[in-house]
Structure formats: C-alpha cells, structure tokens
Symmetry: D2
Subunit: 142 residues, 4 copies
Amino acid sequence: MKKELSSKTEVLVRFNEADPLGIVWHGHYIRYFEDGREAFGNLHGLCYLDVFKQGFVIPVVSVQCDYKRSLRYGDTVIVETKYIPTEAAKMKFTYRLFKAATGELVATGSSVQVFLSKDDSVLQMSNPSFFEDWKKQHGQDQ
Amino acid sequence: MKKELSSKTEVLVRFNEADPLGIVWHGHYIRYFEDGREAFGNLHGLCYLDVFKQGFVIPVVSVQCDYKRSLRYGDTVIVETKYIPTEAAKMKFTYRLFKAATGELVATGSSVQVFLSKDDSVLQMSNPSFFEDWKKQHGQDQ
Amino acid sequence: MKKELSSKTEVLVRFNEADPLGIVWHGHYIRYFEDGREAFGNLHGLCYLDVFKQGFVIPVVSVQCDYKRSLRYGDTVIVETKYIPTEAAKMKFTYRLFKAATGELVATGSSVQVFLSKDDSVLQMSNPSFFEDWKKQHGQDQ
Amino acid sequence: MKKELSSKTEVLVRFNEADPLGIVWHGHYIRYFEDGREAFGNLHGLCYLDVFKQGFVIPVVSVQCDYKRSLRYGDTVIVETKYIPTEAAKMKFTYRLFKAATGELVATGSSVQVFLSKDDSVLQMSNPSFFEDWKKQHGQDQ
C-alpha cells in the first residue's frame, strides 16, 4: 500500500487579495494551491527548482476549485496538500483549505502537472527517471 | 429549444502576467474567464453591477480550467463565454480561450455562481425573479 | 527625542511574482511594502483593522520605490518598515528590502497614508484622537 | 526644441482589482502605468519586445505614484504616458490617469528604466545605439 504523502502550510490573507465584497477574490485560491504545492515540495524534496535542475518544467494542465466558505482579510488559511499517485506521466495534487481560527473547510481543489523537457519543451510520455526515483524513495511506486 | 447565448472579447496579455518560463502563469486564466463573463454581461444585460442593483451578489462556487497551449506576453487572447442553462438557482458559464493570431485553442473552462442576498448573504435556493425575467427575455426559460 | 519605531518581517517570493526575465516584477514590491506595514501594525498596535475599528480608513496617497537589485523566485525578502513621525494628519513609512540569504539591500521606498472617516469618507485635517493616543503611547509625540 | 511625445490608452478596471473598500488597490496603478508604457511603445516603436530584439532589457529602477482620487470597479481609466527626455542612459516616463467618465485627474506618477544587455545583464552607461537612433527619429535628440 502506498504511503500517504501530504503537507500543511499557513498562508496569511493579504488586504489586496480581498475584493469589494470584503472576501478573497476566488482567483487567488489558485495562488494558495501553489503555496501548498511549494510547501509540499520543500518538505518532500519535489520543489519546482529541484525539478528544474533535473531538466524539466512542470506546467499545470488542469486546475479545479470548489468554494465552500469565504475568506476575509486577516484570516489565516491552512493549505493541506496531498500527493495523488497516478500511473500516467503526471503529478497530481489535491488541496483542502481550512480557516485556521475555526478549522472550517473553506475550499477543496486539485491540479495536474505534466513534465516538459526544459530545453525543447517536449512533453514527456513517461515519467522522468528522477521522478521514478522520487516515487520509490517515498513509497509511491507500488 | 433554447437560444445559445455567448460573447467574445479580446484580452491583451500583460508583461506582468507571464512567469519565469515566459508563459502566462496558469492562475491568470481565471482573470480572463472573469473578463469573458464581464463582456457577456455587458452584451446581454447581466453585469455584476446589474445583479448587485437587484440586491444580489453572485460569488463563484466552482471553477475549473484545462490548459491546452501556452500564452506569451504580447499575445492577444479571444475569450469566448457561453451561458449554460440550468434548472438550479445558479449561473453557469463555459469558456474557450483562443490565440487571436492563430485561432488555436488555448484553454477551456467553466464556472458556477450562486445568488446571495446582498444584505444578509443568504443563499437563494430558487432563482431571484429578476433572473427568471432575464431568462425569459433571452429565450432561456424553456 | 522620539523613539525609533520599526519592524522586520520575512516574505517568500512566489513563483507567480517573477516575470519572464526570471525576476520579481517591480509592481509586486508594493505588496511587500504592504506586508511590511502589516507586520509593523501587528507589532505596534496599528493594524488596518485596528484603525478601521476606530472609524477610519487609511488609503495610500503616495508611494515610491527605488530598485537596487533584483529578486528571484525562491528568494526570501526581509522587509524593514520604519515609522516616520510627521506633524501632518498622515502616516508615513519608509521601507528597506533585503535579500535574506546575503543581506544585500534590494530596494528602498516610502508611503504616505491619510485618514478618512469610514462612514462618509471625509478627509481628516488633524490626527484622529486614537492616533494621537497611539503616538503618545509609543513615544512619538514630542 | 524637443517634440513632445505621448500616448493615451484606456484601461477598464477589473472587479478583482478593487479592494474591500470598493476602490482599486493602490498597487494596481503600477500595472496601469505599464499598460500606458506599452501603448506608448506600440505607438512610437519602443515596445518592450522591440527593445528585447535589440539585445536589451529595460528594468524599472524607480517608480512613484501620487493618488488624487479613487477608482472603482466599472470605471474606465485613461492613461496618458509622456516621454521625458534625459541625457542619462535611461528611459523616463510620466503618467497621468484620468477617470474617462468625468475627466477627473485620478493619479500622477513617473518611472525610470535602465538598459541592461540581455545576455549578461550588464548595465549600459551610455544609450544603446538603437535608442540614439530612436531619439533622432522622434525629434528627441536636441
């Protein structure tokens, strides 16, 4: 059985992220997802810059967010990021956002990334070897 | 049969919307969707401010985007926004983004909005009457 | 003599804040200034929300930034925010941004804010009493 | 006498650019300046991409903005961009923002850019020859 890999990080809502309704504009949640992915990468050795050094970039090819509750300026958000194993040459994450003060679920979402070679932007149809290694090291290969 | 309601608008990619890879950061597409919704509202009388004057706000409760091609600084994007009829007390739109210079499909996506009363933020379980009227006037009620 | 009042906070450069040159787009420094002001407010009891509760909003009427060095994705920035005493009914801050890893000065800047009454947006020609109190409590009145 | 070189462009305020006070967050004006510079470049042959093709990048080393009136979602802004001749190896612009509906002055500002060689990021101490040519062609050399 695969080990569950996840991370938690805190993001403080900026004044300039709230819209005229006083709530965080929905597009900014995509940033919080990225903050979550970044924290995951820092914790588990899969940072954007790590991947870049291996010769790949990992553009997002799909993103989705369901909004449950609003966030306001001054709120602290907990971003929980979970790695979702997949056979395909992709990186998939799901996200859960919580209001730190109350623990309420604020939003859920997911993203999918692919591997492109850094130099010629060619889409990788199978996982780069560094990523296969990463999977083995983190119990995600079986 | 319902009449198909849509709009097209052009958005110019800003320098500051492109990321270190030289391509538009994926989160900005959510802005382009909003630009598309705004153009739709201007064309068909369903602007955010129109809705606000009727006593409602229409927060996005779900958004989703699939990325097909990258956009670069200097590109012009055509945002095609289509109203998707639904029985529920919701507003649903789909989006198709094209590169103006080549006509290539860049991304597809969708969003769902609900109606909250402006004053007390109560979720409307049935369509506000102004929206029922709008649907009738635009051939979306049958 | 007035006591010098300042604060330091750390900001992590987000991937989406860097532009096609790989460096942080200059407009984002204005956000870092706001992050600095916020940290100052948290430390010294002069948060935006504190001011709001007193019945005032404090729009920025002037901002200025000089860029010395570039910042890249992955950098941590130290924002040093300093309160600048003034006789006028204004709040003035200066900022110094440093690269955390090297201590190099990245940018300097300043901002000026005024007081508007929250309800009718009337510009205050003299300091609100809560702000006079704050100045006294923080050794900024003489 | 030097010919005055300027441009005007219109920018529509986006919903997500307004803050919880309902007014455009001050940091976004820096984007409007960039939109103005871009329109100036398109009109007078001095686009970012033009300069890039000549082998240079032109980072902003100084920016300043004075806010006179607030902007709201739905407003159209006229950005007037004026080239300011200077002896130094720099590009300087001033900006005036007007509310299109009323003609009221909303903000004034300025920016300074320098020339770096694209390949090695070396600061140019004298104007690149393409820029000297541009100045001559546009009556800015004497």
